[in-house]
């Protein structure tokens, strides 16, 4: 459970996140929607430790984690993915996944030299797990390709794959759907659902694809101009006239069927 209270983050004179309060319930999938420039990504960055808030608090499972850096939050089980994927271009796709699990034995020089066997065993383990994730994401054929050579959409999948490798149980996904083919996106949604239902993962998803939000999210938080406009089920927020105006525009009535 993430509890955000009165979170504010400014850049010079621009108040990107303005006194935001919201809950991301454990074991649920929470959607975060709103117009471009509403501050959704900044809110993610502030929760996940990439920016320090100017004021306000973030609690993770009851513990105050306000202002902790991203790596510290990662070790507490919270991570985020990026809208524009950040892969290691010159490493293979499999290697990109294998570097994710923290605390690997081979990171210790002494262990690498004097205890090679457990290092190798763990490597084999992690490699096998990476292969499972690659299968899940239809990336097996590209396992040994240089990540820098992937298309934009394929990099998005690697980004999601790394989240799946992390062992983090609370994952903030920043536009997992943008640039992903609709057929594959439907499969991805299935994986997110399964991770949530069968393994109890908590997700918060920024997404503009309303089909995806309607399908996945128990609860949807709407942001506009740095503030939380409203929150509720997808149907509730979609019926809200202020949301219609700020976000859906005149096709709000058909947004569920509009594809992207």
């Amino acid at each position: 459970m993430i509890e955000v209270r009165g979170l504010t983050r400014t850049f010079g004179g621009l108040v990107a996140v303005d006194d935001c309060s919201l809950d991301i319930a454990s074991g649920r999938i929470t959607g975060l929607i709103g117009p471009n420039g509403a501050g959704k990504t900044t809110l993610f960055n502030t929760i996940a430790g990439y920016f320090r808030p100017d004021s306000g608090t973030v609690r993770l499972d009851g513990v105050d984690v306000t202002g902790l850096p991203a790596h510290a939050l990662f070790h507490r089980g919270l991570m985020r993915t990026f809208q524009i994927p950040r892969v290691f271009d010159r490493m293979s796709v499999r290697e990109n996944l294998m570097v994710v699990p923290p605390g690997q034995r081979g990171e210790n020089m002494l262990a690498a030299w004097f205890a090679p066997r457990p290092v190798r065993a763990q490597d084999a383990d992690i490699s096998a797990r990476a292969d499972e994730v690659l299968t899940t994401l239809n990336l097996t054929a590209l396992a040994d390709a240089r990540a820098g050579n992937l298309s934009g959409g394929q990099k998005k999948l690697v980004e999601l794959g790394r989240a799946m490798m992390s062992g983090c149980r609370t994952i903030l996904l920043d536009e997992p759907g943008a640039g992903v083919n609709p057929t594959l996106l439907a499969e991805l949604a299935g994986h997110i659902e399964r991770l949530n239902r069968d393994s109890g993962y908590t997700f918060c998803i920024i997404e503009h694809n309303m089909d995806l939000v309607a399908r996945l999210c128990d609860r949807v938080v709407v942001m506009s101009e740095g503030r939380v406009l409203t929150a509720g089920t997808f149907d509730e927020v979609r019926a809200d006239p202020t949301v219609l105006d700020a976000y859906f525009g005149h096709t709000g009535r058909t947004a569920g069927a509009s594809g992207h």
Binding site: G37, G179, T183, A246
Partner: protein, 237 residues
Amino acid sequence: MSLLRATGIHAGYGGADILRGAELEVAANEIAVIVGPNGAGKSTLMKAVFGLAAVHEGSITFDGSAITNHAPDRLVRGGLSYVPQERNVFASLTVSENLDMGAFTRRDDTTADRERIFSIFPDLADKRRQPAGQLSGGQRQMVAIGRALMVRPRLLMLDEPTAGLSPKFVDQIFERIAAIRDEGVAVLMVEQNARRALHAADRGFVLVNGQTRFADTGDALLRNREVAEAFLGGAGP
């Protein structure tokens, strides 16, 4: 008669070719859309047309003349214009300056063109003196399209113009693209918002593994069960 025609294209960026026999055709006054799975080569096909990916086999003609492997600056002078997927505005320049950059190759007065862009995208008119980096995603995309229109192209190429945009902006972008087509500019775009894009399109291409698997009108592709199941996320409503 077709304005742009690409036949038997094999192209890539060094290393193995990404396109292996891609075909494409766009007539004047129409919107053509390329859809397909991730990594199929959609962006590469557009880049091959625009001289940003090396074409090793096949030919591309524009208005009847060969343009295969011509450099982008020459193609811009010839009437093609291209908006890449990311990093497509100068963030530190104002909206007006961005538009002026689009008219870099022109020597005549472009004031009227700038005003025309502001009439197509009224949102931008109020923000003409703001740095493009401060705009929201949807407005940036409008700046990028506006900049591409400043050379008065005959063919406008857009790589995923609606990726990452909120539903309201997606609607607006599709509307404006139709308006641009109606003004006589042919449009070629890559879109993952496939169902929506095919609705807007006069002509569609499904690219798979570097080859054009289906080519038909947008409506016919939407009705095609095989296309719908494999590439559009299931049968339509």
